[in-house]
């Protein structure tokens, strides 16, 4: 039944395919509804204001963009570092990267005050702005990773895949550096202003991207009634563990650095101890759910044989990633700008107070739309093209573990 349309499926499941597509489509539609409502009434309907200028939509958008660059890492390990296990997964990795970037960028654009001026954003560039550089990197990412996918999937162009893959790898490192620097270059705000932002975003992208990849891969194998080879499972879960540990390390160094600078103490006290929801999301969300729990799960003896445990760990990493973005983006703005160090400040414009932020349903809808777009694109791509990893087990034996 309709077998010609499901190259990748062991047995065709059109009902499930349409159900998934419908589900994703509904999420995207609700997001569009939110967009048009906000476009008509203005951002007055959101919880964002002149103090918290970037809110939940940006948490979703930046997470998707960072994870998009990270998910390409799977392909890079294959093409750049020659690991066969990962090379077999390069097409899926590239496709996920494009889908997630599309989702993240859509949220970013739909949240603009003047989304109708997208053409302006594409034609007027201030090259001193790291934000403008990001736009160039995003567009270039689509072109380069698109080309990379073609070289991976077209037999005649296969020989170019290593070169294009290498360019894609360099490009994605530049892209995440630029994304981290959007925050790192904010010299006036104690919560950002740090050269560590760029490398920290890169290492976090490795973890978030691989977690998304493992999740999608596991679902695809289940969908096709296939079991992931244990050797592959072990290698990939160990790699995820290393990335989580590295992310935790960067988080510790970032906060230790702030703790060393006397002028940053108050901000650290806010995030680590007294920041209410931000402190809670930092410790419970970013550190425990996104770091310690998945590490325990991944390195417990049972995980060697359990795709379920690895999948739960991957889900936790994604939740932790969202938490990290919330603490970084919203928490960084909740802490007030200090105009006069050593003085207590107050005004009608909320100087000197911890800024409050209560996101509205419109912001959730807009943010989830990005996830919906990435999901819909993935469902269609997986259905229409051959993205299920094709492992050559003999070659795997020669691959360094």
């Amino acid at each position: 039944m309709a077998n010609e349309n499901c190259i990748n499926q062991q047995e065709c499941k059109p009902t499930q395919f349409w159900a998934l597509l419908g589900l994703g489509g509904l999420v995207v539609l609700s997001s569009l509804y939110a967009f048009f409502t906000l476009e008509h009434h203005g951002h007055v309907l959101t919880g964002m204001n002149n103090q918290i200028v970037w809110g939940l939509p940006h948490v979703f958008a930046v997470f998707l963009i960072v994870a998009a660059s990270g998910v390409l890492n799977v392909a890079s390990i294959g093409s750049v570092f020659g690991k066969k296990l990962y090379k077999a997964r390069a097409p899926l990795s590239g496709m996920l990267a494009l889908s997630m970037l599309a989702g993240g960028l859509a949220v970013l654009v739909l949240d603009l005050g003047r989304p109708d001026r997208l053409v302006v954003a594409m034609t007027y560039y201030n090259f001193k702005s790291i934000f403008a550089w990001n736009m160039i990197f995003y567009n270039g990412f689509f072109a380069i990773v698109g080309l990379y996918l073609i070289t991976l999937m077209d037999r005649n162009l296969k020989s170019y895949s290593t070169t294009v893959g290498f360019i894609a790898f360099l490009w994605r490192i530049a892209l995440t550096t630029a994304t981290g620097s959007i925050f790192g270059f904010l010299v006036a705000r104690v919560g950002y202003n740090s050269a560590l932002m760029a490398p920290m975003f890169i290492i976090m992208s490795f973890a978030y991207g691989l977690a998304v990849f493992l999740l999608v891969q596991t679902v695809m194998y289940k969908w096709n009634n296939l079991a992931l080879d244990e050797r592959i499972l072990i290698r990939m879960k160990n790699l995820l563990g290393v990335f989580i540990a590295a992310s935790l390390y960067f988080t510790v160094v970032f906060h230790l650095t702030n703790l060393y600078f006397a002028k940053q103490w108050e901000f650290e006290r806010f995030i680590l101890l007294e920041g209410g929801v931000y402190t809670m999301v930092f410790w419970i969300g970013q550190i425990i759910i996104g770091g310690i729990l998945p590490l325990l799960l991944l390195f417990s003896p049972g995980a060697r044989h359990s795709t379920g445990m690895v999948m739960v760990a991957a889900l936790l990493v994604i939740l932790g990633g969202m938490s990290q973005m919330f603490v970084t983006i919203v928490g960084g703005q909740a802490y007030p700008l200090v105009l006069f160090p050593g003085y207590q400040e107050s005004s009608t414009f909320y100087d000197g107070v911890i800024n409050t932020y209560t996101p509205t349903i419109w912001e959730y809808m807009l943010g989830m739309g990005g996830v919906g777009i990435a999901f819909v694109l993935t469902v269609i791509a997986v259905r229409a093209f051959k993205f299920l990893p094709q492992d050559d087990f003999k070659a795997l034996e020669t691959d360094d573990a």
Partner: protein, 247 residues
């Protein structure tokens, strides 16, 4: 005969009158322009020889006085409401020295930096600095990304969160764009003071001086030469156009 002579005299008078009018019409603009040399014609570009700036003496600023804020709201067509999503170009900031308890009250507005972070970060170049040092938002190319608001160290910018009505035609604003103090650029181009400065002068506080920082003889420069002044967040080295005294 007499008639013809009178006609000729009349003609000569008319000729002289017309000639005088034409000559006056030709010379007058030059003479007038000389007299109003600081006022800028719309087609004339802002001059890089001028740097507009402001000196605020917090010791003269009246505690509880809000006249500068009210004048700004009226001039720029702002609602004057102070909710978290409402626009404020200028606000009265109360600060208290935590070491000795000394309090100051001062107006805080866009500091019109020489090296403005908002201009650096703006992806489209909508945030821009005029040749005469006034930092503005080009509302035709602002996409409403709010990155400039993240970057401004002085919290000087606001985002228009909802549709606007009854705007001042001289100060067009729009939903979805970022805005901030313009030094009342429309008044400055007519050689007038910003509305806040005039309000402060007319109530007798005289706490705000506005003028050309590049002109050593301007009142603002002279005041800065005689007394020390402070730059807010001087550590960032933005060389602000607004300076404070008395803090």
């Amino acid at each position: 005969m007499n008639d013809t002579v009178e006609n000729k005299v009349e003609e000569r008078r008319n000729f002289l009158k017309t000639g005088a009018v034409v000559a006056a019409a030709t010379v007058a603009p030059g003479v007038l322009m000389y007299g109003v040399a600081h006022s800028r014609a719309p087609e004339e570009a802002a001059s890089g020889n001028v740097r507009w700036g402001m000196l605020i003496d917090s010791s003269k600023c009246g505690d509880g006085c809000n006249d500068c804020v009210t004048a700004c709201n009226t001039e720029n067509g702002l609602s004057g409401e102070t909710g978290p999503q409402d626009t404020q170009y200028i606000r009265k900031l109360d600060i208290k020295d935590l070491r000795n308890g000394r309090v100051h009250s001062l107006p805080m507005l866009c500091q019109h930096c020489e090296n403005p972070p908002c201009v650096d970060v703006c992806p489209t170049g909508a945030s821009m600095k005029r040749a005469d040092g006034i930092v503005l938002v080009d509302r035709h190319i602002c996409i409403g990304c709010r990155y400039c608001m993240m970057a401004c160290p002085y919290k000087a910018r606001s985002f228009v969160h909802e549709p606007l009505t009854d705007q001042n035609p001289e100060v067009p604003r729009g939903k979805g764009c970022v805005e901030s103090c313009t030094f009342c650029v429309q008044r400055v181009d007519r050689d007038e003071n910003p509305a806040c400065v005039d309000a402060c002068n007319s109530n007798g506080h005289m706490a705000m001086l506005f003028g050309d920082l590049n002109d050593p003889q301007s009142p603002v420069s002279l005041a800065m030469q005689t007394q020390p002044s402070t730059e807010v967040r001087a550590d960032l080295r933005l060389n602000t156009g607004v300076r404070y005294q008395g803090i």
